[in-house]
């Protein structure tokens, strides 16, 4: 079932952790790159900085609105900071991916959990995406889409080289298992 030979292995496969409670799907085999934590942290930090700038700069310039603008800023910071502090590390514990011989399989989430499976016979496109933050950290995201508008499996925070290998591997595998893709 698992095609180990053609699968790019970034790190030795992690030992499968303790059995998930109540028959939840098994964890996929690979963790994302450790730098993904920095990526998630910086992304949330950017949002926080933008939000604070959008409230505090007007607060500094406009005296009449200062009291409630500051209150809004404090409230937003209180909402966003816990995620900033906790989410990257929780995500790193949860986020995993795997390319089996027949499907792409991922687990994501930080408070919740989501397991996504896209059979290769139904995959339409495979592409690596790199935004500015990805480039700085040497990371990439791999997006695997199917005929469904909500079926995409997106693997965030992979090492750039691993992502590249994975895209090649998946493109070949998809071509080999060409289904009707609908």
């Amino acid at each position: 079932m698992h095609d180990h030979e053609h699968e790019p292995a970034p790190t030795p496969p992690e030992p499968v952790g303790p059995a998930p409670a109540g028959g939840a799907p098994r964890p996929p085999r690979h963790r994302v790159a450790p730098r993904a934590r920095a990526y998630w942290f910086l992304r949330r930090a950017t949002v926080l900085v933008v939000v604070l700038a959008a409230t505090l700069v007007p607060a500094a310039l406009w005296e009449g609105g200062r009291p409630w603008l500051v209150r809004v800023a404090v409230a937003l910071a209180a909402l966003l900071v816990p995620g900033l502090v906790v989410a990257p590390w929780l995500r790193y514990r949860t986020h995993r991916w795997e390319a089996t011989g027949t499907a792409v399989y991922s687990r994501t989430g930080w408070i919740g959990r989501q397991w996504r499976v896209a059979p290769l016979s139904r995959v339409q496109t495979v592409e690596a995406k790199r935004n500015v933050l990805h480039r700085v950290l040497g990371l990439a995201a791999v997006s695997v889409t199917t005929g469904s508008a909500s079926g995409a499996v997106v693997l965030e925070g992979l090492d750039a080289q691993v992502a590249e290998d994975l895209v090649l591997h998946l493109t070949d595998a998809v071509a080999a298992t060409r289904g009707d893709a609908t």
Binding site: M1, V16, A19, P20, A21, G22, G23, A24, P25, R26, T100, T102, A103, Y105, G109, I111, G112, R113, Q114, W115, R116, V117, A118, P119, R122, T146, G147, S148, A149, S150, G151, V153, A181, T182
Partner: protein, 532 residues
Amino acid sequence: MTDPTTDATGTDPTGTDPTGTDRPDVDPADEAVADVPWRRLSPWIVPAALLRMLVRLIPAAAGWWFFNTDDDVARYTVIALAVLAVLNPFNQALNYLKVRFRVVGEELHHTTGLLVRRSTRVALHRIRTVDLTAPLTSRVFGLVTVRVGTGGNTFTGEGAVVLNGMRRGEAMTLRAGLLTHAAPDVAAATAPGLESPTGQVVQALRWRWIVFHMVGASLIAGPLSVVGTVFGLVSLVGRGEWLGEQIATLVDLVPWTAWAVTSAVLVVGVGLATGAVTFTEAWWRYTLVREPSGRFVATRGLLTTRVFTADHDRLRGVTVKQPVLTRALRGARMSPVMTGVSLQQMMADTSTMLPTTTRDVAVRVANTLLGGPVLGEDVTPADGPLRPHPPRARHRAVVRYLVAIAVVAALVAAGALGGWWTWWILAVPLVLVPVGVGAGVGYYRALGHRLDATYLYLRRGYFNRRTDVLQVRGVNGAHVTQSLVQRVLGLANLTVTTAAGDQAYVGVDLAVGDATTLAATLTGERLHLPDA
């Protein structure tokens, strides 16, 4: 050879075909490939546009003249409409000059634009939909609109060709020509009266269905739209204030209770009447026919005829919706889950195949579409019962409604504390508590799923119950999702993704092990732990 440039140089500028000289914009290669003449829309589009604009102009002008108002807004509205009445036919005349099309070999060519030409070529085998529609004003002149869609890029509409205003006979010939070359799974829709579908009638209109439409959303939307339209029209002729005063004096004349009762009766009456009128307009002469080729054709409509064609090959299942009021009246609304339905079709509501009907009709038509006994009499799987979800899901459903009520209570209490409202208003959330508990229990009872060899059944919802029946062959992925609460309770949602219909269908609060097993079965992957 009257073209002066040709005479001057003595050679044909296109270099291939002398007939190309009066169409210098045409690529010479095309002319070499095929010398098929270009065709135009019918010139009758010009009087049709004039008629269409007059139909809009006359009421406004009549009102203006009748009230003899000096109101500027009204006058400018009439003037603007009059200008449009001239411009629109002129525009259609330009369209007659601009739009040309032809079928060459395996391609449909379509060009438009006078100075800047825009050409579209559609390979016939890529055609997925051929729709013929005929609004009332066009039908007077025997004109129809042909809409050719390709399955790809349904959301941008790219590659779709609209020929707005062809003679009926020509359109039928074009349609026949396109369909003979198109792929077998093409959906072709033709307005009734243009061509009566031949085949076995699966379902005809039953007037008692009108009840389901009268007690639905139109009870609220109907009165609102009627009041809005009346005020809009009256303001248009500059009598808005006058009407307001009339109503105000009327209210002062009669006692408060009489006024309230009269308005309530009027609102309900208008609501019921609106439902009846919209149903009649939308579903007049409704028939669902199975053509010998296996296509299903639904035709309906009084003023605008709407047609929806569903090919059996594009069908991936059905959804049966039973909102709480409809359910109380033993009704249900069945809609097909199809691939390749364009966004425009979804928006235009032409993809509706059956109105809200009695439950037995919904089930029977669903089974006819799917070609076998798939649903039983009470909208459950024909093969056996739905598997219930674990009782913990009931706690979650009840608590969810109670939390929502608690939020309402908190807001109301805040209002009462602030002194804006009387404390009596707290009775509202208190009364809602048993409703919430009942709804939560009902929600849990509705939860269920079943997977057999060909179909996946998913049911959920209390106020808006839906049963999704999906062909397993149409499923192209699966997600198992757990929120924090679901992790604690050992529950999970199962989302199956598909290229058809809503693109994703959700089963709520399954036991996490069941969700895993279903996802594994549907995708053919091993998702359980080796020892599990």
